[in-house]
């Protein structure tokens, strides 16, 4: 269900905790063996009678640690989608210092670092710097840029301590979230201002993350309003390039923001938030210096990035069974990188939810987006036209029907969108969840999702190479965007099984088969003469056509096992196969290999969380990513470990080591060559957190 508060619509904190517990505590990709062994081992375990807690003193009760699993398991048990929840606890234990690294814990997510400030992140395949099939939201606000249909991960940042949870949905969310939620949705939900009262200071530093810190204060402003304001800074060192030289990708970023939550009346609440940032980053990229040049050359560039946003969300309860949400946001960014690009985006959303009719839970909504971009570009890369304004209109409706209350749920819905390039688009889905008991849920879904074109598909122009043409006229092999490119389509078939085998063990299994149509290929086109920039030169164009189709299938397993009161293990595993095929007229020689080869067949995770004594905690995570074949990249395992010490009630010190297995390793090569790869280095940092 679509809400600002996330996919899982909960009527109570209970269910929210439950949802977290069931998913977030699951582990990632490890081994089916473990799963099978655990399943086999379970029936032999003796049943325990619950202790009579009323016999204990209140002091005892207050000292008891609870598991958050409760009886109310409906919300997750009726969610017919592959959901993984990263809780605040997972975030704090991970030792990760940025949002992309957090996503490594989700089976089925592919998270790679190209260089210090550039990422390749996707779900269920098609990974790349310009991955465009994953939708990322922060408090319901799309982080998507119309420039390439993806996310600028470097500037997607906020104090990680303020995140309530991250819901990651693998698979299509198009029928609720619209185009681009093709292979997944990442929904970052921040805490309400009432949950972050008081001061917070975080400072840390190490050999790669040289200095970082957050200063935050929150409290009441008047009787009905809570607020927090924060500032966050990070400074990351350059990483070595493949030859071991300084890769020129160091960067630093300063950000300030706020959130207020106000209760306007017993029926109305208003949330306002905003932030503003400035960053300067090393951009190891490429340039095509002149019309007579023959090859791209590497350049080191230093770019300023800046931006900010403002968002308001007004919730109004019409009755206990009916409420409306109005959401307005404005976002502006400037990136002084190769394109020298800027963009303003205005989003308006209205949504109405009602559950007044028996067994029905209906949400419908309307949305509008206005996005205006400007760019300068150069011979190596530019947009034509350089400035563009686009509008998007959409409407959606989704009905969740409890066919048998608490047992069998059916959700049907669709979105109808109109976009600048391809016009109207309808994306329906149907989902069924069956919970024969509160501890078991089986679900299945069929959905249609589309990726609509973005500026990079329709307006990009980039020079790939040059050669002396006929009569000595310079000829340039140039990629030219195709304004007539079509939507890329997907029909996805998914099924899953979630179970809580007693409180200590939960297992989430998902299998999918995706059928992709009209995927983009690069096709040669008719050469033409061009006079500017001088001298006159021949353009040998390559452009996008939709001449590829294919299938992917895979499984994902996430397990969470609380082995003892103090030890939790979370293994996970994902397997994926991608097969792509060209339609006859295609002359493309790269797209199939790249689509099939840029994602690993196998990936696995294992996270271990140990609550030690005297306020110490020890966390270790291992992430395995199988080899990639195009661009070729060997498999690697990332090992992180951290020791944290809560030496006072509200103060903690942590020591974290990351990428410990190898001195340095490469993770991903950007096939567009727009960002050069550097090597991820073994690193360590110390962090002090103090809350007052």
């Amino acid at each position: 269900m679509r809400t600002r508060n996330g996919l899982i619509q909960c009527g109570s904190p209970t269910c929210r905790r439950t949802a977290e517990n069931q998913n977030c505590r699951m582990l990632k990709r490890y081994s089916l063996c473990l799963l099978v062994m655990m399943l086999l081992a379970f029936p032999a375990w003796p049943q325990q009678k619950p202790e009579d807690l009323t016999a204990r003193s209140i002091e005892d009760l207050m000292n008891m640690t609870v598991t958050s699993v409760s009886k109310t398991e409906q919300p997750l048990s009726r969610t017919a989608a592959a959901v993984f929840i990263i809780s605040q606890e997972d975030i704090s234990r991970s030792g990760d210092t940025n949002i992309p690294d957090l996503l490594r814990m989700v089976p089925g997510m592919e998270v790679s670092q190209i260089n210090g400030n550039t990422r390749a992140i996707s779900a269920r395949g098609f990974d790349g710097r310009f991955s465009n099939e994953l939708l990322v939201l922060v408090d319901g606000r799309p982080m998507y840029t119309q420039t390439f249909g993806g996310v600028y991960w470097d500037v997607l940042d906020l104090p990680l301590e303020d995140i309530e949870r991250i819901e990651v949905i693998r698979g299509p969310g198009g029928s609720v979230w619209g185009a681009n939620a093709v292979n997944g949705v990442v929904n970052i939900i921040t805490k309400k201002a009432s949950d972050t009262h008081g001061g917070l200071v975080v400072v840390g530093g190490g050999n790669v993350d040289q200095g970082f810190g957050t200063v935050q204060y929150g409290g009441n402003a008047g009787k009905n309003t809570d607020y927090r304001v924060y500032a966050k800074y990070l400074n990351q060192d350059h990483l070595p390039d493949s030859a071991g030289r300084d890769g020129g990708d160091g960067w630093h970023m300063l950000r300030g923001g706020f959130r207020t939550d106000s209760v306007l009346s017993s029926k109305d609440t208003l949330m306002l938030q905003g932030d503003i940032y400035t960053a300067r980053e090393g951009i190891p990229t490429i340039d095509f210096p002149s019309v007579t040049a023959t090859a791209l050359q590497n350049v080191e560039q230093l770019g300023n990035l800046s931006g900010g946003f403002l968002q308001g969300v007004w919730d109004h309860a019409l009755s206990p069974h009916s409420d409306t949400t109005v959401q307005v946001s404005y976002d502006r960014y400037e990136r002084d990188d190769i394109l020298r690009e800027g963009r303003s985006t205005l989003d308006l959303n209205f949504q109405h939810h009602f559950s007044g009719w028996t067994r029905q839970n209906i949400v419908w909504g309307l949305a509008y987006r206005y996005s205006a971009s400007n760019s300068i570009g150069n011979l190596a890369a530019s947009f034509v036209p350089a400035d563009l304004t686009t509008q998007l209109f959409s409407s959606f409706v989704q009905d969740e029907i409890a066919i048998i209350p608490d047992r069998l749920f059916l959700a049907i819905g669709t979105i109808l969108e109109h976009n600048h390039y391809t016009g109207f688009d309808l994306m329906p889905n149907i989902r069924v969840a069956w919970a024969p008991s509160p501890h078991h849920t089986l679900w299945a879904a069929v959905s249609k999702a589309d990726r609509t074109p973005s500026e990079i598909d329709t307006s990009a122009r980039s020079t790939l190479s040059g050669f002396p043409g006929p009569g000595g006229i310079p000829a340039l092999v140039t990629f030219i965007g195709n304004p007539l490119v079509k939507n890329e389509g997907l029909i996805a078939y998914e099924m899953g099984y979630r179970t809580t085998v007693r409180r200590q063990l939960s297992i989430d299994f998902t299998a999918y088969y995706n059928n992709y149509s009209n995927q983009e290929t690069s096709e040669p086109s008719t050469p033409f003469l061009e006079n500017t920039p001088a001298p006159p030169h021949l353009i040998v164009p390559i452009t996008y056509e939709n001449l590829m189709h294919g299938e992917t299938y895979g499984i994902e397993v996430a397990v969470n096992w609380q082995a003892t009161n103090r030890w939790t293990l979370s293994p996970g595993y994902a397997f994926e196969q991608i097969h792509m095929h060209l339609a006859p007229p295609s002359q493309d020689t790269t797209s199939v290999d790249e689509a099939e080869g840029s994602s690993p067949v196998n990936s696995a995770q294992l996270r271990s969380h140990f609550v030690l004594w005297h306020g110490f905690g020890w966390d270790t995570s291992a992430y395995f990513l199988g080899a990639l074949t195009d661009p070729r990249e060997p498999s690697y395992t990332r090992l992180d470990t951290g020791l944290s010490w809560h030496f006072r009630e509200r103060a903690s010190l942590s020591f974290v080591g990351q990428n410990l297995l190898k001195d340095h390793h490469e993770e991903f090569v950007d096939s567009t060559e727009s960002a050069r790869t550097t090597q991820v280095k073994r690193s360590a940092y110390v962090k002090l957190s103090w809350q007052f």
């Binding site: 269910c15 009787k223 409420d323």
Partner: protein
Amino acid sequence: MDPLNGTRQSLWRLRASTSTHGDERARERIIAVVLVAISMFSVPPGARAQNNPPSDYQLKAAFLFNFAKFIDWPGSSFASPQSPFAICVLGQDPFGSVLDDTLRGKTVGGRSIVVRRLKNKAEGQRCQMVFVCSSESGHLAEIIRSLQVENVLLVAESTGFAASGGTIELTLEDNHVRFAINTDAADRSGLTVSSKLLALAKIVHDQGHSKGG
């Protein structure tokens, strides 16, 4: 409406004083060592030999019992000397059968305890204690207005409930149950809270001023 009422606390807050008994600690240590030592591919039966942590609502149910025990209701709040002590649940019940299981056969002040699920807030006037579920967090003000005058103890999980005039706020902080008592509200309902309970509670007053912890 955000259904999550801030029961989750910031992570760096202390993972609570882990005051388990010495032998229990030793046992846990042994178990931990054993578990580390063995391969992760097999599950030792011994791993299950220890106590499982209770669920949040098992623990909260025990707290409700303790509230009944350590708060005095005036005799006039019961229909007769034989009337049971009624603990009622208003809204979408998060306990399942846990509350009934926990309180089955228990007595307080010589009265047996009954658990009732309310259809509407008006029915709460016949209860000694009303647990207000998070599903009602949009109507807390009305509930407080209509029930607090009647010698009814209102307990809710919503953050800010005590500060806004409710009597007891029962929350989870970093996987531990904590409670806040609004002593002004207790006075208004004519309830006497024992000093033992007050010593363990966060004390809240109507204006939201707080002391202790």
